[in-house]
């Protein structure tokens, strides 16, 4: 227990109370400051961090409950104890409802006061210790900028770390927003090529001609507008890593060109004849099922095998829900810095909604939701209402929140299951689908709890 670190603010209009209480607590080694009213108290709360506040109930101007209410908004983690000369059940209930730690009647027994303060200090020490342990754990769960405690993700990290040491081509497979580029960057940073460049290119964003020029560069005059020789991404990534995002979307011609580079480690610029040799490690990524694309004749089988040397599957967020609290914690810390707004965390209800959301947009969607919530949150804790989610079971509100089709489906199924009391047969009848299909959807959306509700 660290008494010097414990800062106590006493708020009481009676000077004699302030003096005697601060004298008593200072002898316990605490740092004590006294103020005569609510306005002075809130000014100190707005400017400095406090561990404990002892607030008198009856004061002229702002009373103890108003001070408590405002303090909860400014510093939610400060422990507030309301002091009063007259105990009434109503005020005690109001104080506790507003988040007071305790309610004590003056004069206190020395033992009562000492034990209460010691208990608060011990609890705060535990909270600090817990935060420290979480920080240590977070370090354990980290692979560069990626963080996860999920067993499957830990295996991904292990595989990525081993793969980083080799020079083999890596194919990262995963839905949009799962962090494919972050993983590619982490692999590069862990690889012997870390001193070389990391060059990323999104293959789906460019037309075939532009992508060709972007990848391989062009000679002067090779096409209208090619006023000078231009180096491509392959050359820019020499001795480093080239990250080809959305590689499943490239045209058949470029698939062939890419295959040649992978085989020969050399290429010619657009409009050129000279062969340019490069030493590049390729990390490709796609959200498409390349096996299916190969079977459908949309993707070259030989290129697929060239790229698929070390496949790494990034699971979607809905399959690693155990990671959501950790990710929320990490993202809030980042957003708090970016927005220069102290956000301490999310409420229990908000976390429950976040953990149970379908997250079709994965971590990118989670970040966007938290970013928006951090902006609209009025206090330093993000509440359920700040998330902009439509609460299941409260009826559809079209136009209120823009959702993916999957999310609409998930919410509708939850709503129907709730209305049938979890009866799947009845719900399937209402939805006009067979029971097997509904079971599959329940599984897909992780709706077991609703189903058994």
């Amino acid at each position: 227990m660290n008494r010097e670190r414990t800062r106590i603010l006493i708020v009481d209009d009676e000077e004699i109370v302030r003096e005697s209480l601060s004298g008593w607590l200072e002898k316990d080694g605490y740092t004590v400051v006294t103020v005569p009213d609510g306005h002075h108290a809130l000014a100190r709360v707005g400017a400095e961090r406090w561990s404990i506040m002892l607030v008198d109930m009856k004061m002229p101007g702002m009373d103890g409950l108003q001070v408590l209410e405002q303090t909860r908004k400014l510093q939610p983690d400060v422990t507030v104890v309301i002091m009063t000369a007259y105990a009434t059940v109503d005020t005690a209930v109001s104080a506790m409802k507003l988040g007071a730690y305790d309610y004590i009647v003056k004069p206190f027994d020395p033992e009562e006061l000492t034990i209460m303060i010691e208990k608060i200090v011990a609890q705060q020490a535990l909270v600090r210790e817990n935060a420290l342990l979480r920080k240590v754990l977070r370090r354990e769960y980290k692979f560069r900028d990626l963080i996860s405690k999920n067993a499957n993700m830990q295996r991904v990290f292990e595989l990525a770390k081993s793969a980083a040491r080799s020079n083999s081509t890596i194919l990262i497979l995963g839905e949009s927003g799962t962090g494919k580029e972050l993983l590619a960057r982490a692999i590069h940073a862990e690889s012997p090529r870390r001193e070389g460049p990391f060059v990323g290119v999104s293959c789906a964003a460019l037309t075939e001609t532009l992508l060709e020029s972007e990848l391989f560069g062009h000679e002067r005059g090779s096409f209208t507008g090619a006023v000078a020789r231009q180096r491509g991404k392959f050359e820019a990534a020499n001795h480093g890593t080239l990250f080809l995002d959305e590689v499943g979307d490239i045209s058949p011609k470029l698939q062939l060109d890419l295959l040649r580079v992978l085989e020969e480690r050399s290429f010619t610029r657009v409009g050129g004849t000279d062969t340019v040799a490069v030493d590049v490690r390729i990390i490709a990524a796609t959200n498409r099922d390349l096996n299916k694309a190969v079977a459908a004749g949309q993707f070259r089988e030989d290129l697929f095998y060239r790229l698929n040397v070390i496949p790494v599957h990034l699971p979607p967020l809905r399959d690693r829900r155990d990671d959501i609290p950790l990710l929320v914690d990490t993202l809030i810390e980042q957003l708090s810095v970016e927005q220069a707004k102290p956000i301490e965390g999310v409420s229990h209800d908000a976390m429950s909604l976040l953990v149970n959301h379908a997250w079709p947009g994965n971590i990118r969607e989670l970040r966007n939701v938290l970013e928006r919530a951090a902006v609209v949150a009025s206090g330093s804790t993000i509440q359920a209402g700040d998330l902009g989610f439509h609460q299941p079971g409260t009826g559809a509100q079209p136009g209120n929140v823009l959702m993916t089709l999957e999310e609409v489906e998930r919410r509708h199924i939850i709503s129907v299951l709730e209305s049938t009391g979890g009866n799947v047969t009845q719900a399937a009848r209402i939805l006009d689908i067979d029971r097997v299909t509904l079971y599959n959807k329940i599984k897909k959306y992780h709706l077991r709890e609703v189903e058994s509700a």
Binding site: M1, R3, E14, I16, V17, E19, S20, L21, G23, W24, E26, K27, D28, G29, M83, K106, P107, F108, D109, P110, E111, L113, T114, I115
Partner: protein
């Protein structure tokens, strides 16, 4: 020049052997000269009629103005029950790092020499006197339950501690003594 003065400011006549015992104990722990101060003056306007207790902070204020001029530290002993406004009672009070302390015999048990509990009550008084004087040297409460500077929240806590400083508090006391320019004899 004497360092610590002990002054009886109680209502009843002073119990001289009791005060001599306290003086000896203080001299042993603080390792400085301790003198008895005799005066018929008593603190005024310290009684709270409603509570029928005396306000210890008011006593300290009065002592600060009425202390003997050569007293670096003054320990006042009284037989009246003491309180501070936020607490139901206190055994004593001191000005942290200041010149005065006051301790009451009222709640420490029977002090009459023939009473069977008197040795324990007198031992409690000695401990509380050392404790409050310790505060005047800047010592705060100690986490070691056996140290005389451990909190005195009830009689069990007082009984559980010794009449001496733990090694950390003693070291702190000696440092403060040097800083405050006392002669460590």
């Amino acid at each position: 020049m004497s360092s610590i003065h002990v002054w009886w400011v109680g209502v009843d006549a002073p119990d001289e052997p009791l005060l001599d015992g306290v003086t000896t104990e203080i001299a042993r722990v603080f390792e400085v000269p301790v003198t008895r101060y005799h005066s018929g003056e008593r603190p005024t306007d310290t009684l709270d009629v409603r509570r029928q207790q005396h306000h210890s902070t008011a006593i300290l204020r009065w002592l600060k103005l009425h202390r003997p001029h050569d007293a670096r530290k003054l320990l006042a002993l009284t037989d009246v029950d003491l309180f501070i406004p936020v607490l139901t009672f206190v055994y004593g009070e001191a000005l942290l790092d200041g010149p005065c302390a006051v301790v009451s015999t009222a709640r420490l048990g029977p002090m009459a020499p023939r009473h069977e509990d008197a040795p324990r009550a007198r031992a409690r008084l000695a401990k509380e006197c050392v404790h409050e004087l310790g505060h005047t040297f800047g010592l705060v409460h100690c986490a070691a339950a056996a140290c005389v500077m451990a909190r005195s929240i009830n009689l069990a806590a007082v009984d559980g501690k010794q009449a001496t400083f733990c090694s950390d508090c003693r070291l702190f006391y000696l440092e403060r003594l040097t800083q405050q320019g006392h002669d460590h004899e």
